[in-house]
Each structure stands twice: as C-alpha cells, then as structure tokens.
Symmetry: C2
Subunit: 495 residues, 2 copies
C-alpha cells in the first residue's frame, strides 16, 4: 500500500471516528455501560475460538490465554460499573452568590471525553492490552471513540476479537464507527493515525523505540496530543541483608518463578536484582541459579522478539564484568528462550550505562554492591521504572530507610516483599511510572483511573439548571459524589 | 553574565531545591499549611510598600493592585485549607484477599509531589500569577520546592514579595531553600532552569513564543517534563440573534467594560465577537462603538507590551476586509493604548488565518457572518481557547444547540450570558484549555485543582500498616475521604 492510499484511508477512518464520537459522547452512561457489558459477553462467546487462534499466533499457553480473556472481559465490566456509578467525572459545584461584591457567578466543572483515541495493540498481551484491552475499554468508557491499530504479530486474534466488538456495536445500538479496526501494518498507517487532526490521544504498550516514534509524530502536529506509551522497565528489586540472611531459599524460589513467568515477557519482569555483598546474598544467588538451571526454555511470542532477545543478550554478555552464573540446562529450540542469570559488581555496574538497558525476556542481572553507599549510587543511576520492589524485614526497613525512600522515587508501584509480576486490575493500581517506563508518570494504563487519560475538565459558568449536564444539575439525578462549595456530598444543591 | 556562570549558579540553585524538596515533602500537611498561611500574613504586612512599587513597575492602578494582593494571599490560604482537609491526595485502598486464587495483595494509592518546580512570573499579574502567585502556592501546597524566575518587567515587586516569603520560611521552620528567587533575566538562565535534571515541572503564563520555547527546552531533555504554559487566547464570544434583538444596548455596555478592562491585558480578554448579520447585531456594534470611543487610553504594563500592541494592531489593520469602526477618541500618550473595535465579514475571516491571532491589548474584532452555517465554519477554524462565551436567550439556545455544542469543544471554560474577564478562584474553575490556549487542557492554573499539576500517583503493594503514609493507614488518622474497595468513605479500614 502506498503512503497516499494509506493517508486517504486514514482520512476516511478518522472522519468516521470523529462523527461517531460526536454522537457517542452524548449517550447516557448507562447506555455506554451496556455497550461495554455486551462487548464482554460477545468476547466470552468466542472464547473457544479465540484461545487456539491466539495460541497459534503468540505461543502463549491456553491457560494463560484463558486467564487473559477473563481479565479482558473483567476490565470491560469494571469500566461499565465505574461509569454506571458515575462519580469518576469529578463533578464540582461552586454556587452563585449574588450578594458578594462583585457578585459571584455559579461555576460547575466536570470531566468530558476528548474525542477519537488511537489504540495500538501490544504483542505480549493479545487480549488485555490489545484490541478490546484496557486502553480501548477505558477510552470507550470515557465517551471517546476508538480506532484500533491491530498488532501485526496477532492479526487473526485481533480480527476475531473485533468481530465480537462489531456484534456488540450492532446489538447495543451505538454509532457504527464508535470502534474501528485498522489492519494496515505499515508504519505509515500508524503515523497517519497519530498525526491526523481529529486524533486526540494515543495509547501504546511496546518497545522504547516504538513509543518514542509515536511521541515524535505527536510533537510534529500543529496541535500536540498526549501519547500514553508504556515502553521499558527493568523493575529493580532490592534484597536487604536481614531478609537475605533469613529467607534466601524462599526468596530464590519466589524470584525464579517471577523472572521466568511467561518467558520473561512481562513489562514488570524483574530484570535487576540488587544487594550488598554478603553470605546471605551469595546464598540467595546460588539458590536462584539452581532454580534457573531447571527452567525449561519457552517459545517466545514471535520470531522478532526471540531474535531481539538473543541479540540483546549477546550484547549484554560482552559488557565488562558481566558473569553468567546460571542458565537453563535444557537446550533452547528455535524460537525458544532459555532463562539466564548474570552478576556484576556494583563498581562495574556504575561504570557502564549499558547495564541499565532492558533485555526483554527471561534474563536478570544481579548487582553485588560493596556497601550501602554503593547500593544508593546504583539506584540513583536507574531510569524511571514501572515497579520498585523492597525485599526486607522490619529490621532492614529501619536500617535502610533512606534507601527505601529512594526506591519510592523510582517507580509508579512500590512493592514490599512481593514480586512485581502480576498487575492487579483495581482502583488503586498504578501501572505507569517515570520516563522511560512510560511517557507520563501521572497516569496509569491499568485500573479504573486509566479512564482519566481520555478526558479533560470543562467548567460551565452561569448556566441555568436545565442547560447543565445531569452530573451537574442541582438535584443530582445521577446520585454521584460531588464537591459542592468545597464539601463532598451526594446531596442535592439548594440554590 | 556568561552562559557558564549562569549554568553554574543554576546548578547550585537546583541542588539546593532538590535537597530542600527531600526534606520539605516529608513535612506534615499541617506544617506546610502553616507555612502558606504565614506567607500570606507576611505579604499582607508589606501591602503598603508593595502597591507603590508595583504601580511604578507595571502602571496598574492601586485599586487593581490591592485587589490582586488580596487574591494572592487568598490563594495561599485556600491551598492551606485544601491540604489541611487532605482529601485532595485521592487516597485509594484495595484491601488484601488471602482467600482468592491467586491471593490478592493489598494495594493502596495516593498522589505524591514530583519535586522541584520552576515558576516563571507573569508580566500582567505581578502578584497573583508571579512570585507568590497561584503556580507557587499550588506547588508548595503539593510538597514540591519552588524556584521562581522573576519577571524582568517587575523585578523590585518580585524581590519585595520574596522578602516576605523568606520571612515566612524562617518563621515557619521549613527548609531554607524550599523557595528560591532567580533574578537573572537572561534566556540562558531560563533554559538552564528548565533543562536541569532536578527540575520536574514548569509553570508559565505569557506569550505563545515564550511558552513554546520552554516546551522545546523541555522536550530536548533526556527525561521530558511537563510544562504548564498558558499562552494565548482570543476568547470568542457568540452573540445569538434573539438576545441581540432584545438586549443590544446592555450587551454593548457589558462588553465595552470587559474588552477594555486593564487595558485589555487579561488572558481572558474577549478579542473575537461573532454574530449573524442582522439589525440586532448592527445595533449592538453601533452601541459598542459608542462606548469604545469614550474609553480613555490607558498605560500598558511596559513599553515592550505597548510597542507589541501597536505593531500587532498595525499588522491586523492591513488585513483585507478589516474595518475599524470605533476607537478611543482621546489621543494616546506614550506607553498608552487606546481601545479599538474592528469588523470583518465571515467570508473575509474564513479566508485569512491572520484574524485568528491574538492582539494583546484593548482590541476586539467583530465577525459578521452571513448565516448560521458560516458562523459554524468560523468557529470550526478557531484554535483552542481559555474561554468560549454564549450570549443567548432560551430561544437562541434551542435554535442554535449545535453551534453551542461546538462552542463547548473550544475552551476550558464555557460562559452563558457572562463576560469572560474575571476568573473566580475556586474548586470548580478551569483556567486552561486546548492548545495553544495552554500546553495541556487537562489542567488548570487557577483554583484548588491547580495542585494536580505537581504530583503523580504512586501505589504501595503489600505494605504493613505502620509503613504506610498517614493518608493510607487503616485508621485514617487524617480523616480524609478515601476510595476503599470502590466505595467513597471516611471510615477506618478493617483488615
């Protein structure tokens, strides 16, 4: 397909998305919620077809894919529940005061959807971060229309999910082009979508290079738009001395599982393990190494990811001071990745920025620091992360309070004695973090507040009650929580 | 001062800002609130000195300056009240569920300050948008430290306000460098502040060129940071036919005052008046013109702004189709600006993008449209705005619902039968809007939610209660409103 043809098609798609948005945004929250619920039901109906298709395209096992489908339909229903409840719009009311000098006008505020959103499917989550995944669900819940750019690694899965979405569109009576599916896999199509004047936001989960390219397209626009890209994270875990002296074996078992889960193809895969040189850390690394040798090589998502993994690994192994201390003992077949554990001294780590790079796959690097000061220095060198894990006893927590403080500044999610893989879908989740983990640490791509990426506040001054949207009317017909003259309440406003 | 010297000084300033931040952020909300209140009191004590100094530097009259000082101290106190109440941190708690498969960890979220913030003083508000203005107040309230870049047009005013802030720092016992004042007026100093690795956010109110430069500096950083720049807005007002036929004289009086308030040097100055060709619109424009001729020329803020106004005006007058229909009849002295009202047909307006540009000063352009369709087309051409005003009767509102819908998409604040000048400082205010009105329509620079510009959410997973910040502890010691397992409550959590 030539550039021109792409641009023309994208123009048609975006005009449809814009027109659909202008109708869709006016639907009641209940109507939008019913649409999301219908979509969840229609996807559920296709479960038995979706699993084998996705397995063929991604090599992910059926149990994992089934779990991911449940997560996807659960997310759709979660957003339906959120918008039916309705308080998420942050309604705020300051009533008029005619007696003040000068008179104070009535001012009311709420969040409104920004308009068409582009969602780029992710390769490592063919359901939960792709076609009908969290970006799409949150954007549709907000009242925005969505254009999905299918991920080229699982086109059949994406197309099949989209048929369920189309059925939901028809059965729910929402505008036909509320959701569209672009199968053109060219970079030109992606660029045309991001740079189109009607586009108002972009969701992306993938590589740093991919995310950065989208940000650059967006910044070239006459009117810049936000790009929410989740890009790269090595998810540092600090193992503190007291817990190492007591729990080395248990920690090794826990982390061997976390490092190698899904062939290490999780954004939250713990790629960097830090500790202070000690018998406890040695013991932990030996035990972890023993677990790693037992790990069976696993098929990666696609050949591109597998060859990237092998290339990144080989580059990493050439770095001064890196020592591989354990790897899967079974040979890796074509497209398979074996697990690998390497070590480096704090000194060598501090001298080489290459160690900060992500190796997407079942690889982890343990940094053996001389002392607490060097551990602090190593942490200070790190880039922004999705997660930062603290493995510590009460004694460690007292003794290393300043190091743990520093760990809080690195990421969007801080874990105490948990492994970072496994991202709960809930209101309190922050799946996001300082750059380059994501492009915008103020937002999350998982959990109910992911909806906040697709809205902006508007305030209405001096409007008559009958002209106000339901969320702002005096009698509070939606029964939502509102801030009224600086007090949170669900009561009606007496004006 | 050479570039090198600037960079060195800025390094010192930013190291101090970073160190102060790491202490200041740990202070209790009550302690931070007391600091803001003390600052308000100290500024109040200097009121009688501040007014003449600011009058000399800005030509703004004493009454206006007194009002602005009250607004400034009021903002400081408003943020103190906000953080004492405490619910603004959006605390969210999802409790653990050990019985689930797999067990659900406890996850808790809240907003935390991002770190040192740079505030650029604004020329048109020497108090409320400058040294101790809304950007500074909201950043300090959030727990961030602040570096103020004094505006070169009112350095004495800025320095004097800063002495009050220094007294407050000492009397409140907050870290010495919680607020710093950079008087170096060079562009290099501004660039060095925005690009410094410790800087985490920027607040700016000024010209489009100035804001754009800061955004470019920020985008050149290895780690991009948000720049909240309020830049340019012509604040369209649509006068609908029925209200024009009934209220032409009253509307003319109201708008003559709004257009010329403070020599038109408000971000919300109504620079564009749109209506459909009719006797009513003619009548309104005649009456408005009559008021405009009576307006006394006023001294502008400084000679640079005055010469920019005259230059922009002269360029505008050269545009095809522009007709000046009224101007101040009294002659303008040096540094003074006379008011001016011009008209253009909808046709000429649609054909020339120059009419979309802001002329900062007491100038307004009336666009006389042939019909409703042309009015829609004119509105569709507009860039993003701070405000969008609807002057309409009930009949107009019914008849022009689609035009009013379009008006909602243009700006952060939509007004019904109000003039846009005058920005209430309250929770429901949105002083912000789509680009280029501001760089980020998702935030406001006025009102309590301005604090949201300087924070990010973090979530804490599997933390023991005694390790959690007060906002997230089970017994809710701050008594704040929290989202607990998806229910808003001030109750303690039973876990």
């Amino acid at each position: 397909m030539s550039n021109t043809e792409t641009a023309t098609n994208i123009d048609v798609v975006m005009q449809q998305a814009f027109d659909a948005f202008n109708q869709y945004k006016k639907l009641s929250p209940d109507k939008r919620a019913a649409f999301l619920e219908t979509m969840a039901d229609e996807i559920e109906k296709l479960r038995d077809q979706l699993v084998p298709v996705a397995n063929e395209e991604t090599n992910l096992p059926a149990a994992r894919l089934n779990g991911e489908i449940s997560r996807t339909t659960g997310q759709l229903k979660m957003f339906a529940t959120l918008i039916k409840e309705g308080s998420w719009v942050e309604a705020s009311i300051d009533t008029a005061d005619a007696g003040r000098t000068p008179p104070r006008p009535g001012i009311r505020k709420m969040l409104v959807p920004v308009g068409p959103v582009i969602v780029f499917g992710a390769s490592n989550f063919p359901f939960a971060f792709s076609t009908a995944g969290g970006d799409t669900a949150s954007a549709l819940a907000s009242g925005s229309s969505v254009v999905i750019k299918a991920h080229p690694a699982h086109p059949k899965t994406s197309a099949l999910v989209f048929t369920a979405m189309q059925t939901a569109i028809i059965n729910s009576g929402v505008p036909q082009y509320t959701v569209q599916h672009v199968t053109d896999t060219s970079n030109e199509a992606g660029k045309a979508l991001v740079t189109h004047p009607y586009t108002k936001g972009v969701g992306f989960t993938g590589s740093f290079a991919g995310g950065k390219a989208l940000v650059e397209y967006a910044s070239q626009r006459e009117i810049p738009i936000p790009v929410f890209a989740e890009m790269s994270s090595i998810n540092p875990v600090v193992f503190y001395p007291d817990t190492l002296s007591k729990n080395a074996e248990a920690l090794a078992t826990q982390y061997a599982a976390s490092i190698t889960l899904g062939a290490g193809q999780f954004c939250t895969n713990p790629g960097l393990l830090l500790g202070i040189k000690s018998d406890g850390f040695d013991h932990f690394l030996q035990a972890l190494g023993k677990e790693i040798t037992k790990v069976q090589p696993q098929k990666m998502l696609h050949s591109g990811i597998c060859s990237s993994y092998k290339k990144a690994l080989s580059q990493m192994q050439q770095q001064q001071g890196l020592e591989v201390i354990a790897q899967s003992s079974a040979a890796a077949n074509d497209m398979e990745a074996g697990a690998i554990l390497a070590t480096v001294t704090g000194n060598d780590f501090l001298g080489n920025a290459h160690f900060l790079e992500e190796v997407f796959g079942p690889y982890s690097l343990a940094v053996i620091c001389d002392d607490k000061d060097q551990l602090m220095q190593c942490l200070q060198k790190l880039k922004g992360q999705l997660t930062s894990s603290v493995m510590a006893t009460e004694k460690d927590i007292e003794e290393y309070a300043d190091v743990i403080d520093l760990q809080h500044t690195l990421a969007g999610r801080i874990l105490l004695n948990n492994a970072p893989t496994g991202v709960e879908v809930c209101a309190s989740m922050v799946h996001g973090g300082p750059y380059p983990a994501t492009t915008d640490a103020r937002f999350t791509s998982v959990g109910t507040t992911a909806i906040k990426r697709w809205v902006r506040p508007i305030c209405l001054q001096n409007f008559n009650d009958n002209m106000l949207p339901d969320a702002l009317k005096n009698n509070n017909p939606l029964g939502i929580l509102r801030l009224v003259n600086n007090v949170y309440t669900r009561e009606a406003v007496n004006e």
